[in-house]
Amino acid sequence: MAVLLEVDNLRTQFDTAAGTVRAVDGISYTVNEGETVALVGESGCGKSVSALSVMRLVSEPAGRILSGRIVYKGRDLLKLGEEAMRGVRGREIAMVFQEPMTSLNPVLTIGRQITEGLEIHLKMSQSQGHARAVELLGLVGIADPERRLAQYPHHFSGGMRQRLMIAMALACNPSLILADEPTTALDVTIQAQILELMRDLSRRLGVAMVIITHNLGVVARYADRVNVMYAGRIVERADAGELYANPRHPYTLGLLRSVPRLDEPRRARLVPIEGQPPDLARLPAGCAFAPRCVYRVARCEAEAPVLAPAGAAGHVAACWELERVVRKERAA
């Protein structure tokens, strides 16, 4: 499979009242054509900012992309002018956000919001645009498309709005969709519908996807490869099956262990990750997870670990104490 997107040592910072926040602190990952890759982590880990960086939608001047490369189909997006970048956004790479209501224009009809991009990007006529919009609504399972296109966002339920966002994302046949917590605001039965729809469409149309989420279950069901993020860095990466079967980074282990699971007998007590998430404006010198880590040694506080092989091919983790983690996990 050919590499579609390569993010290489990306750094994105924000200047805030509390100081400079290193939201994305040197991350590298790839997405192959047609593949679904997950960025998983908790609030403030940098997963959303890394997607916004790919779209070059980091709000300046407070935020800026400091360094790195974002190579999409052989072109470094960070070197493109604004005009050329506009041809990428929505046309080549589309985005689906968590809260569809805030990404839809409340005073434009649904039809207009879908056809606008078609007319700009694909130079379609009004009637061509309309025909494509009808087709798109059908594709995402919205019944009675002619009537629905004349309606406004407030006429749609949360689940239906997210279907609309997916239709809009697919409008110009992009090669890549970045979905930022696409189902977090939805109820669980609707979440299942939307995720099935996204998976079905991505397979049928061959669109690659980056799913950004905090939900380890969603990742397990839908992702081919997984990047676990903590405090602006990728701390572990593997194929989904490998990551869940052999988690290696103490943070990944902690996350998997802290959630109650329906497929296992109920445990008497949950095992949380102790401590608080880090303050991104005051990150420690070494490993950002060290203050909460049960495997911490002196070196962790001095020197930030880099991604190193941690098992099967393609499985990497950033931890100085990997060997000890592996030994202890085997014994357990």
Partner: protein, 324 residues
């Protein structure tokens, strides 16, 4: 088996919606439509369901933040619905709440110490100022915070720490019952387990009773002794934790459980998923008969005709489905 602390009986809460050109009566939202359950002292009852199912309104009725349209709420042998304001004040102390978003339920201009001391003073629980400060320190320690947190403001704490303050404030009243309304759903995954463990520890130490309202079925299974599943204003199934998760009887409960993604890709690939069609209908105009029938994978003609009563299908296992 211990005594029943709270007995909710045929609870109904309808909200009228204004509307129409002259501000007339446009209809009614049947938020809670005949809900009955009981909670024994020291027990945790989980109340699960999706948004709009009436679980939060049920909690608000028990907290007397809403006046029920009809029904009884028996708490320690007294029907709360019949009490006047003065009598309610005394009861309110005994029933406390923990909200989803501790940030919006803590006054940003007060220190944590002031937030915790105020109800102690207002309710005359600790009258002397010095003793109040001492009690605040004690409460902070009980919820895993430090005495010096009393001097901080809510914005200086993390989400998990703020939820600990919310719990301390509820504890300050020495309640018998705490209504926990989505107490961990706004928190990061790694912090949720900390708060759940804290709630369990406090329950064991003080013999607290919880009504645990949540949409996360895995969390509810972990913390609850018994679980009630709500859909569109009604309880569709209620039983103990083990039976609900191992032998669910109502098709809605089954669909809910199957929709929860499990963090294991191999299992997920093998598992059968019942993806429900459609969406939750409006509580203004609920479907006829069984409110779940338009989405139900096993519905037959008669489901649209008559409302199935909640019946005891197996011992202590109740479900509102004719086909169960």
């Amino acid at each position: 088996m211990s005594e029943v602390l709270l007995q909710v009986d045929s609870l109904v809460k309808h909200f009228s919606i204004g509307g129409g050109i002259v501000g007339g009566h446009a209809g009614q939202v049947r938020a809670v439509d005949g809900v009955s359950f009981s909670i024994r002292r020291g027990e945790t009852l989980g109340l699960v369901g999706e948004s709009g199912c009436g679980k939060t309104t049920t909690g608000r009725c028990i907290l007397l933040l809403e006046r029920p349209t009809s029904g009884r709420i028996m708490f320690e042998g007294v029907d709360l619905v019949t009490l006047d304001e003065a009598a309610l004040r005394a009861v309110r102390r005994r029933i406390q709440v923990i909200f989803q978003d501790p940030y919006s339920s803590l006054n940003p201009r007060m220190t944590i110490g002031q937030i915790l001391a105020e109800p102690l003073e207002v309710h005359g629980i600790v009258r002397e100022k010095k003793a109040r400060a001492e009690r605040v320190r004690e409460l902070l320690t009980q919820v895993g915070l430090l005495p010096q947190h009393a001097l901080r403001y809510p914005h200086q704490l993390s989400g998990g720490q703020r939820q600990r303050v919310g719990i301390a404030r509820a504890l300050a009243m020495e309640p018998a019952l705490i209504v926990c309304d989505e107490p961990v759903s706004a928190l990061d995954v790694s912090i949720q387990a900390q708060i759940i463990n804290l709630l369990e520890d406090l329950q064991a130490r003080y013999g607290l009773t919880y009504l645990f309202i949540a949409h996360d079925l895995s969390v509810v299974r972990h913390i609850s002794d018994r679980v009630a599943v709500m859909y569109l204003g009604k309880v569709v199934e209620i039983t103990d934790r083990t039976r609900l998760y191992e032998e669910p009887l109502h098709p809605y409960t089954r669909a809910l459980l199957s929709a929860v993604p499990i963090p294991d890709p191999e299992l997920e690939a093998r598992r059968e998923h019942t993806v429900l069609r459609g969406e939750v209908p409006s509580a203004v105009n609920p479907p006829s008969g069984c409110v779940f029938h338009p989405r139900c994978p096993i519905a037959v003609d008669r489901c649209a005709a008559a409302v199935p009563p909640l019946r005891e299908i197996r011992r202590d296992h109740w479900a509102a489905c004719d086909l169960a």
